[in-house]
């Protein structure tokens, strides 16, 4: 086992400057996440779940403290480097799917490949991934608005996987789905974890959190239980 964890937060604080005064969304949080971990993050609204996900997703940088992802200090990277990190080592799965409305299901999955290789994909990887998550050829040509919620989330998972990320960040992935579809989506995520991905999952649902190996409980920007 490597000595450095994949993700390392040491004493991370995130403060937002609001008109009503400063608001500390994360308060001296330290956390190590290793390769192939499966972590559930739980907590009430405003406890800092989104903030910590933004930090882990390299969409934001800490106000103080240090955040290392894949051995790199996020605060010291340029904007472009952070963009490339997001593209190459992180896969995002959102509650609202966030597919690109003007692109077909296939193009949505192909899109990160185009970002990375600056050309249209000829390897068939996007089609393979769509098949793997249960989206057939016919559905692939549909725009997101023509797909059901479950289908959109499957497309979003395929998109998240297409650049072989090491980390999968799932922000309430089943939050907009019925229980049956939600279970199917969770099965896909468990399978991906078994294949070696590091999965970090934000959820309200204790039943979903049960799938994880470790649950982190946030309250007022602090970890209260781990």
């Amino acid at each position: 086992m490597g000595t450095t964890p994949l993700i390392q937060l040491s004493d991370v604080t995130k403060t937002y400057h609001l008109e009503s005064g400063d608001f500390t969304a994360l308060n001296h949080v330290s956390l190590d996440i290793g390769e192939n971990d499966f972590i559930a993050i739980m907590g009430p609204s405003g406890s800092g779940k989104s903030t910590i996900m933004n930090q882990l997703g390299i969409l934001d940088v800490p106000t103080s403290g240090e955040l290392y992802i894949a051995g790199r200090d996020v605060a010291k990277m340029t904007n472009l480097e952070r963009t490339h990190m997001r593209r190459d080592i992180i896969g995002y799965i959102f509650q609202k799917f966030y597919l690109i409305p003007l692109l077909s299901a296939y193009e949505n999955v192909e899109y990160p490949l185009i970002l990375k290789y600056k050309q249209r994909d000829k390897t068939g990887k996007a089609t393979d991934l769509l098949n793997a998550v249960g989206i057939d050829e016919e559905k692939s040509s549909h725009r997101p608005s023509q797909l059901s919620g479950g289908q959109q989330q499957r497309v979003a998972i395929a998109r998240a996987l297409v650049n072989d990320p090491r980390i999968l960040l799932c922000d309430e992935p089943t939050g907009n789905l019925d229980r049956k579809t939600g279970t199917q989506i969770m099965d896909i995520l468990i399978d991906l974890h078994e294949k070696g991905k590091t999965v970090i999952l934000v959820t309200h649902d204790p039943k979903i959190a049960e799938y994880a190996h470790r649950t982190i409980q946030l309250e007022d920007g602090r970890i209260v239980e781990s």
């Binding site: 933004n54 997703g57 969409l59 934001d60 904007n79 472009l80 963009t83 490339h84 997001r86 593209r87 190459d88 995002y92 959102f94 966030y98 597919l99 690109i100 409305p101 003007l102 692109l103 193009e107 192909e110 899109y111 990160p112 185009i114 970002l115 990375k116 050309q119 249209r120 998109r159």
Partner: protein
């Protein structure tokens, strides 16, 4: 390689088709305005210049109109260029053609109609140098005459018509000339000092027989072989003929051309500026549409940025959109410029002879290019704004 950002832009334009179309129409109008205004000005300029340069190689020498010193004894017959002055001019002009011209104003009658006009007397060989006959032939017999286009149409003159020259007077038999040719219309811009539209042109022999003044000329034209020698020849004539005092006035049309050209080119600039205002309006509408496109797609931009799209790629996507709007506007505008420009030039100038010259047609691609540049410039800020959105805030927008 097919660029996915270009695809996205095309789809966005198609999705908001009506809005994009309306924005493009602004560009169409701007391009048409700039192109046709520019073409109008240039065609006007080209036509005036062509009319003026027809006689640019001509030096016109006229008697200085200051009366001779002896005051009371001065008569119209003494007010002219004498034979010796003419010889001086010939000496100074060297190998260039020197054309002495008699002229006077006289009444004339055609049948029972009376008129008044200019009578020119020239050597028949010189007539060929300075005038163009459109109908009939040039002078052969002594009492042959050429008539200007205005007189010809006013009195319905035909080849062979006889004209009595001189004041109608019962007691005197007036000399008669026979029309053998009708001269080309010269318009107002006669640069050689001869306006034949309202004139009768006869041979110098006939003229001096009837009007006298054999050795006194009203005007002398020097036709230059090389227009670049204009200043030198004028100076030589001035030195030779005006050595003691100014007895002749030497003029040419070059200064007139310069001043008319510069007036016309500032006029062209002015009407181009008016045309540009419409492009300014178009720029505003493109800017507006682009800003709308950005604010409607904030969440989409947030998705693009959060999954690893570089800001410059987002910028490119919006600049493509501006480019597409500009391209549609420019192509349609360029096409319409040709039609509208041709119509406007034809209607306002009355001639499309110069329309297809490069100097005129250049305004179509120029107008298109300006339209596209304006479009892309209008898209710069919206594109920059889109690429600088914070992905977290943008994702949260709904």
């Amino acid at each position: 390689m097919k660029d996915i950002f270009f695809d996205l832009s095309v789809r966005s334009v198609r999705l908001n088709f009506l809005r994009s179309l309306l924005a493009s129409i602004g560009i169409v109008i701007g391009v048409v305005a700039i192109s046709s205004m520019g073409m109008l000005g240039t065609n006007m300029q080209l036509m005036m210049e062509a009319q003026l340069t027809e006689g640019i190689n001509t030096i016109v020498i006229t008697p200085d109109s200051v009366m001779s010193q002896s005051g009371s004894s001065s008569s119209s017959s003494s007010d002219g260029i004498t034979k010796s002055q003419l010889n001086d001019i010939r000496d100074a002009a060297g190998t260039n053609t020197v054309i002495p011209i008699h002229s006077t104003s006289s009444e004339f009658s055609i049948g029972s109609d009376d008129g008044r006009g200019r009578i020119y007397g020239l050597d028949p060989t010189d007539i060929k140098e300075t005038m163009n006959v459109t109908e009939g032939s040039t002078l052969h017999g002594e009492s042959d005459a050429l008539v200007g286009s205005s007189i010809a149409s006013m009195f319905d003159l035909k080849i062979g018509t006889r004209i009595k020259i001189g004041e109608p007077n019962v007691s005197v038999t007036r000399p008669v000339v026979r029309v053998v040719g009708i001269l080309e219309e010269t318009g107002m811009s006669s640069s050689n000092g001869i306006s034949t539209d309202n004139a009768i042109v006869v041979s110098d022999d006939w003229y001096t027989k009837e009007f006298g003044d054999e050795n006194l000329y009203d005007q002398v034209n020097v036709l230059l072989d090389d227009v670049n020698t204009l200043d030198a020849v004028e100076e030589a004539i001035d030195k030779k003929v005006n050595r003691n005092k100014d007895v002749v006035r030497i003029s040419d049309s070059s200064s007139r051309i310069t001043s008319v050209s510069s007036t016309l080119s500032s006029l062209t600039t002015f009407i181009l500026a008016i045309g540009s205002i419409s492009l300014l309006v178009a720029a505003t509408s493109i800017f507006n549409v682009m800003m709308m496109s950005v604010s409607e797609r904030v969440q989409e931009i947030g998705i693009l940025l959060s999954i690893g799209t570089e800001p410059r790629e987002v910028r490119r996507m919006f600049l493509y959109e501006a480019f597409i709007l500009g391209l549609i506007g420019a192509v349609v505008g360029g096409f319409m410029s040709l039609i509208i420009g041709y119509t406007v030039v034809g209607a306002m100038i009355g001639s499309t002879d110069y329309f297809f010259l490069p100097e005129s047609l250049i305004y179509v691609p120029a107008g298109m290019a300006i339209g596209m540049i304006v479009c892309i410039l209008s898209g710069l800020y919206p594109a920059w704004r889109a690429s600088n959105l914070d992905p977290i805030d943008a994702l949260r927008a709904d």
